[in-house]
Symmetry: D2
Subunit: 342 residues, 4 copies
C-alpha cells in the first residue's frame, strides 16, 4: 500500500473450481498488482456468476476465448490437469505470460509439447508450487543459504491429508495417483532444497480405505530417495491423517536441522483434567492460504518487472518425472533411475 499509482497486470483466470475461486479472489482483491480482466470455465454460467461477484468485466466458456481477449495481458491456468497442455500451448502461441498450477500434466509427452511451445515462443511461464512461497519453507531456503545448518544431507517430508478425496477425484487417470497428486509437492521440495533425484525405491498400499483399490490407487506411500550427489531423502504420504492436515518437512544438515510445519489452527489450549488439547489445521486452503497469495503476487511482479519466473516449467516437469519414477518404483518393486523415466 506504499505507492498510489502503479501499472496493474490484467489477468485472465482459466478454470473456476475450488482452487480457481481462491485464485480469482486473490487476483481480484488481495494482490495490489493485479486486476482480473476475464474469467473462463467450461461451465459458462459459473464463469458469468463469479465475474459478476468479483466485478470482472468479461467471462467466457472456453480458455481459447479468454486467451484471445486483447484485454487479457496474462493468464492463470487452474483448469483440470488434462487441459493444461492445450491451455499452455494456446497461451504461448499468444505470447501471453502464463502461470500454470501443478502438476504441469500427467504425462511427460504432454510436458514436452508444452515445453516446446513455451520455448519456441519465448513466453514467460511460471509453474505453480505454492509451498515454495510459504513463509516457513521460504525461511528454510534462506537459512540454508546462510549456512545455519551447514550442508543439508537428508531431506524428509511427510504429507498427510485429513481424509481421502472422492474416488472420482482420486482416480489415477485424472489425478495421476497418490505419488503425483499428493507427492509432487514433496518431490518438488526435494529438488528445490537438494537438487535432482537419482534413484527412488518405493512402497505403498491400501491400508485405510479399501475402496481405493477399486480405482487402482493406494492410500499410503513411502519413497526413499538418493540424490544425484549421494545425499538421501525420504517422503511419506498418507490419506488417513485423520487428525488434520499435516505437512512436515525436515532438512537435516551436518550442523543443524530445520523443521517446517505446524499443527494448530486456533490459538487456544483447552485444559481439563489431565488433558491439554488444541485443534488442527483443517486442510490445504488454511495451511497455505498465505502461500497461494504470495505465489500469484510473485508471478505478477515477475511479469510486470521483467524478472525471470521463480519456478520454471522445467521444475514442474522434473517434479513430475520424479513422481512418475516413484510410481514406477512402487509398481515394479525395483529401485528406479529417475532419468530413465520418459
Amino acid at each position: 500500500m506504499a505507492s498510489n499509482k502503479r501499472a496493474k497486470l490484467n489477468v485472465g483466470v482459466i478454470g473456476l473450481g475450488r482452487l480457481g475461486k481462491v485464485y480469482l479472489r486473490d487476483l481480484a482483491a488481495r494482490i495490489p498488482e493485479t486486476t482480473v480482466a476475464a474469467v473462463a470455465d467450461i461451465d459458462r454460467a459459473l464463469a458469468a456468476g463469479l465475474a459478476e461477484e468479483f466485478g470482472v468485466p468479461n467471462s467466457y466458456g472456453s480458455a481459447e476465448e479468454l486467451i484471445a481477449d486483447p484485454r487479457v495481458d496474462a493468464v492463470v491456468i487452474v483448469s483440470p490437469t488434462h487441459a493444461h497442455r492445450d491451455n499452455v500451448i494456446a497461451a504461448a502461441e499468444s505470447k501471453k505470460p502464463t502461470f500454470c498450477e501443478k502438476p504441469p500434466a500427467l504425462s511427460l509427452a504432454e510436458c514436452a509439447a508444452m515445453s516446446s511451445a513455451v520455448a519456441k515462443t519465448g513466453t514467460f511461464f511460471q509453474m505453480g508450487f505454492m509451498r515454495r512461497f510459504d513463509p516457513g519453507y521460504a525461511a528454510a531456503k534462506e537459512k540454508i543459504a546462510r549456512g545455519v545448518i551447514g550442508r543439508p544431507v537428508v531431506f524428509k517430508s511427510s504429507s498427510r491429508d485429513p481424509f481421502r478425496p472422492s474416488l472420482e477425484y482420486a482416480n489415477p487417470a485424472s489425478s495421476g495417483g497418490i505419488m503425483v497428486d499428493m507427492g509432487i509437492h514433496d518431490f518438488d521440495l526435494a529438488r528445490w532444497f537438494m537438487g535432482d533425484v537419482d534413484t527412488i525405491a518405493a512402497t505403498g498400499a491400501v491400508l485405510a480405505y479399501p475402496e481405493m483399490a477399486s480405482i487402482g490407487d493406494i492410500d499410503n506411500a513411502i519413497a526413499m530417495l538418493e540424490f544425484a550427489d549421494g545425499r538421501l531423502g525420504i517422503i511419506d504420504l498418507t490419506r488417513n491423517g485423520v487428525y488434520g492436515y499435516d505437512i512436515v518437512t525436515e532438512l537435516l544438515g551436518d550442523a543443524g536441522t530445520l523443521r517446517i510445519g505446524y499443527l494448530r489452527e486456533t490459538p487456544i489450549l483447552t485444559m481439563t483434567k489431565n488433558h491439554v488439547a488444541h485443534d488442527t489445521v483443517p486442510y490445504f486452503m488454511e495451511r497455505f492460504e498465505r502461500a497461494y497469495t504470495l505465489q500469484l503476487r510473485n508471478f505478477a511482479e515477475n511479469v510486470l518487472h521483467d524478472r525471470p519466473p521463480a519456478v520454471k516449467l522445467e521444475d514442474g516437469v522434473e517434479a513430475l518425472r520424479t513422481a512418475l519414477a516413484a510410481t514406477a518404483a512402487h509398481r515394479t518393486r525395483q529401485r528406479v533411475k529417475v532419468s530413465g523415466i520418459h
Copy 2:
C-alpha cells in the same frame, strides 16, 4: 463466495492512518459484503491517493463531507481518538450505521455525548474490539458457554508490546496512558468473559524506558480486579515484551482452564547445537489480522441483516471506565470502585 448476487454495504472510511489503511483494504478487497464508497482524511492528498489505489470513487478532506455523501450508507471511524466524539455524533445525526474503533473517547464526558446522540437517533453503532473476533477468543467464549471449563472464576490477561511507542503517540494526553491505550482490550475481555468489574487495585512504574517519565506515563502496569460477583482478575501490561508481541489470556474455571495466545509467526524450527528456536509475532497487525477482517465483516452483516451490534457503545464506555479506574488506582495507590468513576 457462495452466492453470486447480493446487496453490498457502501462504506465510508474516516481516518487513513496505519489502521485506517488496513480497514480500507479489508473493506475494499477482503470483505465480500462491502464496497468502499468514500474515504476521508484531514490529509486530503492521502485520501485521494488511497482512493485511487483502491478504486474508491470519492475522497474527502473531512469526516463531515464523507458523512454527508448520500452514496455512503455506513461509516467506519478510525480517526484519532480525540475526533471520535464529533465523528460519531455527526454520523448519528445522519442516522448512518457506524463502526468506531476503540477507545470510544478519552473521557467519559465525551462518551456521554456520543451515547446520547446514538440513543436519541436510534443509530446502529458497533464498537471496535477486534480481540472478540479472534478465532482463539471466540472459541474461548463458545467453550465457556458449552461448560467446557465449568464456571470461570479467575480472569488473567497479559499484553506485551515488543517496543515502546513513540513518545508523541504514547503521550497520555492523546493515548490515555498505558491503562487506556494498551489495557482497554484486556479490560474489555474481562467484562466480556466475566461481567462488570467492581474494584481495582493497581501499580505501575517506569522500568524499561526512562524517557517515558518525561511524558508522564509508565511502561509497566499491573491491575488486580474484583468482579461484581466476587470473582477475581489480574491484568499485566508491558511495553518491553522485547521478544515479540505477546498477548495471553487465561480463564481459570472450576473444571478446567482455557489459554488463548500464540507466540510463533513463521512455521519453522531452527535446531542447532543444544538449541531449538523459533521467531515471534511481530506486532498486533500480524497477530490480529484475521480478527480485524472478521470484525468489519461482522459489522457489515449486522447492518445488512438488521442484527444488533456485536459490541455496543456501552461496552466501549464501560471498558474505558474500568481503564480509568485502573489509572486512578495506580495514581492514588488506593483500591478504586469502578462505578465511582465518572
Copy 3:
C-alpha cells in the same frame, strides 16, 4: 559415580510423612554423599518399618532421641511445621548441621527463636526451597546473571494445585493459609530473583470449593508486589488448577524474558479428529522430583565441604514475612508494608 572413595554424611531424618519418605529415599539411595543413620517419627512403628525397608540402622519415636544419637552427623527436618521450632533449636543446641523444610514456622516469633538458637550456636542451617534447585529455575538464575534478558523488571509467578488439599491439611491453623502454604515458594522466588518486597496488595476468595470457607481459608489468591527498588511483581495462586499441577514463573527483563514451567508429563501426543492432546504433570512430587534430590545433595555437599548454606534461615523468615504481609493485605484490603510485619 566418579570417585570410589569419599566421606559420607550420616544423616538423621525427622518426620516421615509424604515428603519425609521421599527425602529418606533420596538420602538413602539417590545421593552418593549421604547415608541415613537414623529416622524418627512420632509414629514409632512407621519409623521402624521404614528403617528396615531402607536399611537404616536406627529408628526413634522422637526428634530428641535422634538428635542425641552420636551416629547422626546432620539432621533433615521434615516434621509438621509446628514442630520445626523445637526440632531446629534442639539440633542447634547439639550443633548438628540442619536442613529444614519450608516454611520455617508459621509465626515470626517462632522464627526469631530458631534464628537466635542457630546464630548463638553457629550451627550450619539450610532452608528448604526446592524450586531454587529445579534445573529450570537454576538456569533462569544463571541466565540473568549472564545478562541474557538485561535487567529483570517484572516478576510473575503462578502456582496451581490440581485439587484442594484435605480440609484438615489446609486449615490455616496448621498450614498458614494459602498465601503461606502455597505462596511461600513464589514469595521466595520473588526475593531470590528480585530482592526484598516493599509493599503488597492482595485479594482472594473462595471460588471453587465452598467448603474452604468453613476452615477460614480461600482457594484463589492474587498478590501484587512492589519491590524495594521500585520493580514490580505479581503472584497468583489457585487450588483449582484441575487440569494438572502447573507452576509458571516469568522474569520480564528490559532485553528479554524467561519463562520457567512445563505442563506435559508423558512424552506422547494423541492426535484424533481435529484434536491433539497430551497429559499434564500430576503433582509437585513429579514436577520437582529432581529438584528435591538436588537440594538435599547440595545440603550434604555444603556440610561436607564447609561451604555456606545455599538458602539461609533468613530466606525462610523473609519469605514467611512476605507471605504474612500478603495474608494481611488480603484481610485488611490495604496495601501492606512487608517490613511492618513482625
Copy 4:
C-alpha cells in the same frame, strides 16, 4: 515404599562400562526389589572400586566367577556385545534368571547358541529394550490396545544421535554397524507395535563424518519396511542430529495418530528479540533414564513373582535379524526378505 518387608532379588551385574554403572546404581539404590550381591568386570580394579562405592559385598574379574557365586540369584549382563553369548550360556547353565542388554549378539549363530542354552535349561531370560518401558512408548502401546487410533497402519521412527560415536566404538566389527547399533531399537519397536517385518529396502551413506568410511560404516541410513500383513514402516537413523538426542516414533492409524518423543531438557524458554529458544535432550541416558530403571525393576518383579519375561530372547533375535536384513538391503541395494536372513 508401601510395604515394609519383602523379598529382594540378589543381582549380579556383569560389565561396568557406561551403561553398566547406570544399571548398578539403579539396582543398588533405585529399585526397592533388588540388592546387588556382586559385580564383575574384566577390569577387576574397576569392579572392586564400584563395589565399595555402592556397598556391594563381592566383586570379580570375570563373569564366570560372579555367576558361580551362590549369593547371586540373578544376573544382569551389560558386558560388551561379543561377550553376551558366553555370559548368557554360563548363566543359563547355572539356571540363574538373566537380563541381557541389547543387542543379544552380532550374529544369528551366536543367538542360536544362546537360545538353545536358554531353552534347554528353561532359564528365565529377559531381553533389554528399554524403550518399551519409557512412559511415552508404554502409553502408546496401551492407547493402541484401547483402540484410540483405530488400526495402526504405518510405523515411522527416527533416531538421531547428537554426535558420532568414537570410531573404535562405531566399528561394525564390534557395533554391528548403524542398522544394528542404532537401528535395533527402532526395529524392535516396529515389531512390538506392528508385528514381523516381511521385506526391507534400505539406503545409507557417509554424509557428515567422512572418517566413518575408514571403518566401513555409514552415518545416515533409511529403511523402508513392509510388514508381513502388508502394513508399512519407515525408519531413519542419523549420527548428525547435532542439535540434540532426538527420538521420535509415530504410529499412524486409520482413526488417529500417536507421536512419541520430546526435545526439551530444561523447563525454561529464553525469549529475546524475535527469538524463542529452549535446549535439547543431551543423550540417551537423559532421555531414557526412567525407562532404564523401570526395565530393571520389571525384570526383578518378573523373577520374584514367577511372571514371564516382558521381552523375550526371541524378540532380541528377531530385531537383530531385521537389522541384519536392513544392513543387507543397504549393501545389496535389493529388497531383502527378513525371513531369509540366517
